[in-house]
């Protein structure tokens, strides 16, 4: 059961992070297309936001790993 829970948890975390980072990518490419001269700033903001989302997803993944190894 622990393995099942970890698998489902990791999957849901991946879904959430995927949606979040996908939306960042979408709006970043849109705004770069609209304003190519600001692409440097937009890329920086994109990486920063993606890193913040990734952090949350990775905390979920670590919790799943802990379930596998400890639970």
């Amino acid at each position: 059961m622990g393995l099942l829970a970890a698998g489902i948890g990791a999957g849901i975390a991946a879904v959430g992070a995927g949606i979040g980072i996908g939306m960042i990518g979408k709006s970043a490419t849109e705004s770069i297309a609209r304003q190519p001269e600001a692409s440097g700033d937009i890329r920086g903001a994109m990486i920063l936001t993606a890193a913040l989302i990734e952090g949350v997803a990775l905390i979920a993944a670590i919790v799943c790993l802990l379930i596998v190894f400890l639970g």
């Binding site: 920086g44 990486i47 920063l48 890193a51 913040l52 990734e54 952090g55 949350v56 990775l58 905390i59 993944a61 670590i62 790993l65 190894f69």
Partner: protein, 342 residues
């Protein structure tokens, strides 16, 4: 020339595909399961080029310090016994502090030593005038200057307000270069990724946390304990949230770097493990066949991991700079009432 390169590449891939296949055959007959987690764990020994180098054990147990050259000599001395791979005092007491030198620590030191060496050598070069009065000479100085200017302008200057950023450039640069080295050491044969260890990243995040709080402006503390511009009952909710927020930032910083490096390493081992699994299930022919697919995939993963290693170092440095900048910033006009929290 291009054709020769292509032929070489294909030969190498074929070679590297067949060798693990035949090795997998031996391994599966020897009944030794692949230890995925053991590859990323911290060890008390280094395995370099077939050599097994034992690292010293320094243990505080029952108020007494024990020094041993290796785990084996600790067991031989009779004071300790091995239980499930961990050392336990033989008289039944518990280890207070285990200060043993481990493989991750060794690679951590190597990364720090390299960072120090590079910066000191370069500082001497700049002091003599090369690069200040003349153009930077050689690929190494150019690379150094690009990296340094990138950290100073893109990371520090953009995120830390006013002239304060100069004070933090040395820390940010050291962290950036050090983490890059540590991440990339994991890609070397026999290397260990020191950053795939929560204690290493935790210490790095702790430094960022301490520097952030030490250099925090008065406004930062005001935002934490008495949030400006809101009615006072709101502060009962906001103050605990802000205090928790102080600690979640470095925590997320540590976990992000740790998990990224750990997952990259596990992914590579699992990919290569597919060869062994296929060999075990369907025989050597399928194992070798699958390795034709798996080995190029692993090469691609390696390239991705090299990129991620540098990217994560950048993200760690960038977020450190953002946190320091947020704390060091001084807000000027709170009289407006609904000033957004930066």
């Amino acid at each position: 020339m291009l054709r020769a390169c292509r032929r070489l590449l294909i030969t190498t891939i074929l070679l590297f595909a067949i060798v693990p296949g035949s090795w997998a055959q031996q391994a599966s007959s020897a009944e030794s399961p692949i230890d995925v987690v053991g590859k990323v764990q911290d060890h008390n020994s280094l395995d370099v080029a077939g050599l097994h180098i034992s690292l010293p054990r320094i243990i505080l147990a029952d108020g007494q310090w024990y020094f041993y050259g290796s785990t084996e000599s600790a067991v031989e001395s009779g004071n300790f016994v091995q239980e499930n791979g961990a050392l336990v005092p033989s008289d039944g007491s518990e280890i207070t502090i285990d200060m043993s030198i481990t493989s991750h620590l060794v690679f951590f030191w190597i990364a720090i030593a390299l960072t120090l060496l590079i910066t000191l050598v370069m500082a001497r070069k700049y002091k003599r005038g090369a690069g200040r009065k003349t153009e930077p000479k050689g690929w190494f100085q150019n690379l150094f200057e690009i990296t340094f200017v990138f950290v100073r302008d893109e990371i520090a200057k953009n995120n830390i307000p006013d002239e304060k950023f100069r004070k933090f450039v040395p820390y940010l640069f050291a962290v950036f270069v050090g983490i890059t080295f540590m991440n990339l050491f994991g890609l070397l044969p026999w290397g260990a990724t020191a950053t795939a260890d929560i204690t290493v990243t935790g210490i790095l995040a702790l430094f960022t946390f301490l520097i952030t709080q030490w250099n925090a402006s008065k406004d930062h503390w005001k935002h934490v304990f008495a949030f400006p511009g809101v009615p006072w009952p709101m502060r009962i909710i906001l103050t605990p949230i802000e205090i928790i927020g102080l600690f979640t930032k470095p925590f997320a910083l540590a976990v992000r770097l740790f998990a990224n490096m750990l997952s990259g390493k596990i992914m590579i081992i699992c990919m290569l493990g597919l060869i062994f699994i296929f060999t075990d299930f369907f025989g050597t022919a399928v194992g070798v066949g699958s390795s034709l697919l798996v080995v190029p995939l692993t090469v691609a993963l390696y390239v991705l991991k090299a990129f991620v290693g540098i990217l994560q170092a950048y993200i760690f440095t960038l977020l450190s700079a953002v946190f320091i900048g947020m704390a060091a910033e001084e807000h000027e006009h709170h009289e407006e009432g609904i000033e957004a929290h930066a």
